[in-house]
């Protein structure tokens, strides 16, 4: 909003430079965005918060200046020279909906001469960004900018029955507004009507049929108070944001309506371009009571942390237009119709604080409160993040929105739909982190970044029965080689087992029990031959694998990509394993290698499980796997190493031999494994 320095000076003395004034107002809560000069005038551009409609005019801003510098405020004059004929003999006003229109003040002007406004008025309007139209329309705008009350001038002779009825519009009624656009009205809208039809959209814009023209002789001036929510609805419905609606929807001052009507009457008389009939038509069916607020001295101190002198508090409140009455504990302060934002003691504390100056309030640190509680899963999360970072995965954050198509494909049923999505591709909340991760992988591959390790800690969103759940998830994305090529080594391709190693490492700090990997329950966006789910006890902790060729093809991924989904809530619920020290053995372990022929149907884990049943086995290793020449069809060759260990004595050859025999016989009888000749 534009405020002119010279216009402010009509109401308050200003000794400061424009920049000093701008700073002082900004620091009092009237944010000045810019100070400009144009046509020899200084213009302040303000950004006024929505709770302060009273400051959206020059008088209101002058009151702020007067309060900051404690100077006196000169109110605009309204010297009325009324004719003997009463206005009420020429026009009448009725309000059918007092909730939507609490007050309607009318004044009647006769024998007006419609012509361009004098230069002074035109110039001020134009500097404030308002187009000059004619002397009558300009007067209404001038007074709007001056004291903040929107008004409207009707051509009285075009009002059927010379009547104003403020009522809800009827279905089917239309109104061509001043911008020439026909509007279809409904009972949701408040209309200003004459005896026959709507003539204005209340509080938003007047109608074209009754506007002031060069031939207008008699005028009905409207100054009214409309309910903010009614005006907001109409303004939004018609996408019509006007100076008037802007003020009404923030809350106008019902006591300003007669002042504005009088001021316009006085200015019109002074210009000699019309005469003012006697009296206001003041239709005021709903008086809104104003409370008196108690401001406690103690309250100021308790909120601000500083004790202010009584005289300072009183002087600030008085300068802002309040009339505080001292009591033994503070003040009784009647509320003002111009300051609807002030209804409680705390609101007055704010007024005192901002005019006194936030910068004059000291800075202290509060005492530490209670000992802070540990954040849920904080340690578990820290550990996981450290692991992800150490494994070289770059942390990404993806948008929470995906398309409903991706939601069906990657997350199944139960996606959370948006009523007003940003776009069709973002119409649901993601129920899987895979599409977002695929997008990031794709983004990089398209930019020839082929060595990728990405990780996202995030949430997915699900609707179940009547509640929403937002489980935490860690998604890993990998592509390229397992290790980068160097000048001495070629780079091996990233494989299933590379990802398995990463997932295993990340899960290892938690007490999830032994991890079991199998291919059950894998959704088909994975390549079913190269993926697995991970369980620990009863919990499903993760699944991972290569993204299916179908998906990769559709997304034009030019190299294999791998994804892991780790259900963090499940993992964290296992808790971090507390280390427990075991004594170190005094003697070294001994190992034996077995060259085995294993049926293809036997998975490695069954071999290790069988080995685990043998006494003194410390650990096992798969040293080499071979298929091909000299290995019978339907079998693979496994070089299997077993380490035996006792805590405090060496194992004799005999006991190792006997252990080994037992192992081989178990492998043979349970799993059909033969020793390779």
């Amino acid at each position: 909003m534009h405020i002119l320095l010279s216009w402010l000076e009509d109401f308050v003395e200003i000794k400061e430079s424009p920049n000093e004034l701008a700073d002082a107002l900004t620091m009092a809560g009237m944010a000045v965005d810019a100070v400009e000069r144009d046509l020899g005038e200084t213009i302040f551009e303000f950004d006024i918060t929505s709770n302060r409609p009273d400051a959206l005019n020059h008088l209101g801003m002058a009151r702020e200046v007067a309060a900051i510098y404690r100077r006196s405020l000169r109110l605009p004059a309204a010297d009325l020279h009324e004719q003997a004929i009463p206005a009420s003999s020429r026009a009448s006003v009725a309000i059918e909906d007092p909730h939507a229109c609490a007050r309607y003040v009318g004044r009647v002007f006769e024998d007006v001469r419609v012509e361009p406004s004098p230069d002074r008025i035109r110039r001020r309007l134009e500097l404030c960004g308002v187009r000059s139209i004619n002397n009558l329309a300009d007067l209404t705008n001038y007074v709007l900018l001056e004291i903040g009350q929107p008004t409207h001038a009707f051509d009285l002779d075009k009002l059927a029955g010379q009547r104003i009825i403020v009522r809800r519009a009827r279905s089917g009624e239309t109104l061509r507004t001043l911008d020439g656009i026909p509007r279809e009205l409904s009972p949701a809208h408040l209309a200003i009507c004459d005896a026959e039809r709507p003539v204005a959209l209340a509080g938003v814009m007047g109608g074209a049929e009754t506007e002031i023209t060069d031939t207008t002789r008699n005028v009905l001036l409207e100054a009214a108070w409309f309910s903010p929510s009614v005006i907001r609805k109409a303004s939004r419905h018609f996408k019509l944001h006007t100076e008037a609606s802007h003020r009404f929807e923030r809350g106008a001052d019902w006591q300003a309506a007669p002042q504005a009507a009088d001021r316009i009457g006085a200015m019109l008389h002074q210009s000699g371009r019309g005469s003012l009939l006697a009296g206001r038509i003041d239709c005021y069916p709903r008086r809104q009571p104003l409370d008196t607020v108690q401001l406690l001295r103690e309250q100021v101190r308790q909120h601000l942390g500083i004790a202010l002198e009584d005289s300072e508090i009183e002087s600030i409140l008085t300068a802002l237009g309040f009339a505080p009455t001292p009591t033994s504990v503070g003040w009784q302060v009647p509320c003002l119709s111009s300051r609807l934002d002030v209804t409680r003691g705390i609101d007055l504390v704010e007024e005192v604080a901002r005019i006194h100056g936030f910068s004059r309030i000291p800075s202290t640190l509060p005492a530490v409160g209670a000992a802070p509680a540990a954040t849920a899963n904080e340690r578990e999360e820290e550990r996981m993040r450290a692991g992800v970072r150490a494994l070289g995965y770059d942390e990404t954050i993806g948008f929470s929105f995906i398309s409903s198509e991706d939601a069906r494909r990657f997350g199944g049923a139960g996606a959370v739909e948006l009523r007003n999505p940003l776009s069709r591709l973002w119409d649901v909340m993601r129920n899987s982190a895979v599409p977002t991760m695929l997008q990031s992988l794709q983004w990089n591959l398209r930019r020839n970044r082929a060595e990728l390790r990405l990780a996202e800690f995030g949430r997915i969103y699900r609707r179940s029965a009547e509640t929403y759940r937002e489980p935490r998830i860690l998604a890993l994305g990998a592509s390229g080689s397992a290790r980068p090529a160097t000048w001495s080594d070629r780079a091996p391709r990233f494989s299933f087992h590379d990802l398995k190693a990463d997932v295993t490492a990340l899960l290892s700090p938690y007490s999830c029990g032994p991890l079991r990997f199998d291919a059950s329950g894998i959704p088909d966006y994975y390549d079913l031959g190269q993926s697995a789910s991970v369980r620990g006890g009863e919990r499903t902790l993760a699944r991972f694998g290569r993204i299916s060729r179908t998906i990769a093809g559709e997304r034009k991924l030019r190299q294999p990509v791998w994804i892991a989904e780790i259900w963090l809530d499940e993992v964290y619920a296992c808790g971090l394993a507390e280390p427990a020290h075991r004594p170190l053995p005094r003697v070294p372990a001994v190992s034996r290698d077995f060259s085995l022929l294993v049926p293809e149907s036997v998975q490695y884990q069954r071999i290790t499980e069988a080995a685990g049943t043998i006494q003194d086995v410390e650990r096992t290793e798969a040293v080499e796997i071979y298929r091909g020449k000299n290995v019978p069809r339907g079998r693979y060759s496994l070089l299997f190493r077993v380490w035996w260990q006792r805590l405090d004595e060496s194992l004799t050859d005999e006991s190792v031999n006997s252990h080994a025999e037992k192992l081989l016989s178990r492998l043979a009888s349970r799993l059909g494994i033969k020793l390779r000749a």
């Binding site: 620091m27 009092a28 809560g29 918060t49 929505s50 929510s229 939004r236 929807e249 308790q302 909120h303 601000l304 942390g305 500083i306 705390i346 704010e350 604080a353 901002r354 936030f358 309030i361 800075s363 202290t364 640190l365 509060p366 530490v368 409160g369 209670a370 904080e378 993040r385 992800v388 970072r389 150490a390 770059d394 942390e395 990404t396 954050i397 993806g398 948008f399 929470s400 929105f401 959370v416 739909e417 948006l418 009523r419 007003n420 999505p421 940003l422 973002w426 909340m429 997008q439 990031s440 992988l441 990089n444 990405l454 949430r459 969103y461 929403y468 290790r483 980068p484 160097t486 080594d489």
Partner: protein
């Protein structure tokens, strides 16, 4: 005067020129050290003659002209200095001869300038980095860290926070709604109410997480971003505490020279409300493109928790007061690391992420 000339002069004359015995021997020692340091293996033998030669060596000359010529009362001092220097130069020469005789060091078999196989740490996302920096400042002040649901009710997101029923932020243009009237939280403040409902003061809390607005993405807007909010509720919390806490915070986050400026503003859930500007971290307040030549950058909103919000949360506003402050972590990260496009945060581009390893 050369060192040779010096050793030829009697000590009393030198002392009359302002030298002390200690100074004379020190200059001798320095000259010796620098010659030993510069000598090649072959040069060491002639160096020995020049310095330690029995008749014509420099130390012999010093012995003659300084020690022997010294008056009796000076003799003990000069004698000690002469002996010390002789012992030192003997040992140093021996060591130098030994070092010269040692075989040459093996030259490197590897090229240490070739890279090893790269094993970079993963990047910590700039938003996460900023978060961790913030938490490191607030944890020692006794703040708990809380997250909260991103899918919220209208009540927690607006009503409980004292939004008037017709506040523009409630309009659909700003809020993303679900089909059943639930919504995506537009700020982290609902969590304030949730915490106050479930726990009793004193409270010191940091809430952080994703928030959503129905904004078309561009360099400064993203429909999803991260907010962080801190609040304290107690019987004695004041606006002065709010100022002190935030000043401490911005100094620690943006650098010790950072000043904060509190401007009155309006938020439905705080009263009084303020916006905080900090001295521009790019130009230290002297004015630049980023702060639009004002020297200040607006970084956060704050205020005393409105009594209505305390009441909605089941706390007695006559007894308790609180302050709250909130800001965008993305914006903080952008200011701290000089990122000029918020959308970089959400693309997963490794050229961007790798800068934060």
């Amino acid at each position: 005067m050369s060192i040779e000339d010096k050793t030829r002069l009697p000590i009393l004359g030198l002392m009359a020129d302002g030298n002390t015995p200690e100074g004379l021997y020190e200059s001798l020692r320095e000259a010796f050290e620098s010659e030993v340091g510069a000598a090649s293996a072959a040069g060491l033998e002639s160096l020995r003659n020049r310095w330690l030669g029995r008749r014509s060596g420099l130390l012999a000359a010093a012995n003659e002209n300084w020690l022997k010529a010294a008056p009796r009362e000076l003799k003990p001092v000069v004698g000690r200095l002469q002996n010390a220097l002789r012992r030192h130069s003997d040992a140093a020469l021996k060591a130098a001869v030994k070092a010269a005789a040692a075989p040459a060091r093996r030259t490197s078999e590897v090229d240490p300038t070739l890279p090893g196989p790269a094993r970079p740490f993963g990047a910590v996302h700039p938003v996460r980095r900023a978060l961790e920096d913030v938490l490191r400042i607030f944890r020692p002040l006794g703040y708990n860290v809380v997250e909260g649901p991103e899918i919220e009710t209208f009540f927690y997101n607006f009503e409980a926070l004292n939004f008037p029923p017709d506040h523009p932020a409630v309009d659909e243009m700003d809020t993303l709604f679900l089909k059943d009237g639930m919504l995506l939280r537009t700020h982290t403040s609902p969590c304030q109410v949730r915490v106050m409902e479930s726990s009793q003061p004193p409270l010191r809390c940091v809430v952080h997480g994703k928030v959503y607005r129905n904004d078309t993405p561009d360099a400064t807007h993203s429909p999803m971003f991260h907010q962080l909010e801190m609040f304290a509720v107690d019987e004695t919390i004041t606006f002065a505490d709010l100022k002190g806490t935030l000043e401490h915070f911005v100094r620690n986050f943006f650098g010790p020279g950072t000043r904060a400026r509190f401007r009155p503003s309006y938020f439905p859930f705080t009263e009084p409300s303020a916006e905080v500007d900090i001295t521009c971290p790019f130009c230290s307040g002297s004015g630049c493109r980023i702060c639009k030549h004002t020297g200040f950058i607006e970084v956060l909103g704050c205020g005393m928790i409105d009594p209505e919000v305390l009441r909605h949360s089941g706390l007695d506003p006559e007894r308790y007061r609180g302050f709250a402050a909130g800001f965008g972590l993305d914006r903080f990260a952008m200011l701290k690391y000089g990122i000029d496009d918020i959308l970089l945060m959400y693309q997963g581009d490794t050229r961007f992420l790798a800068q934060f390893r």
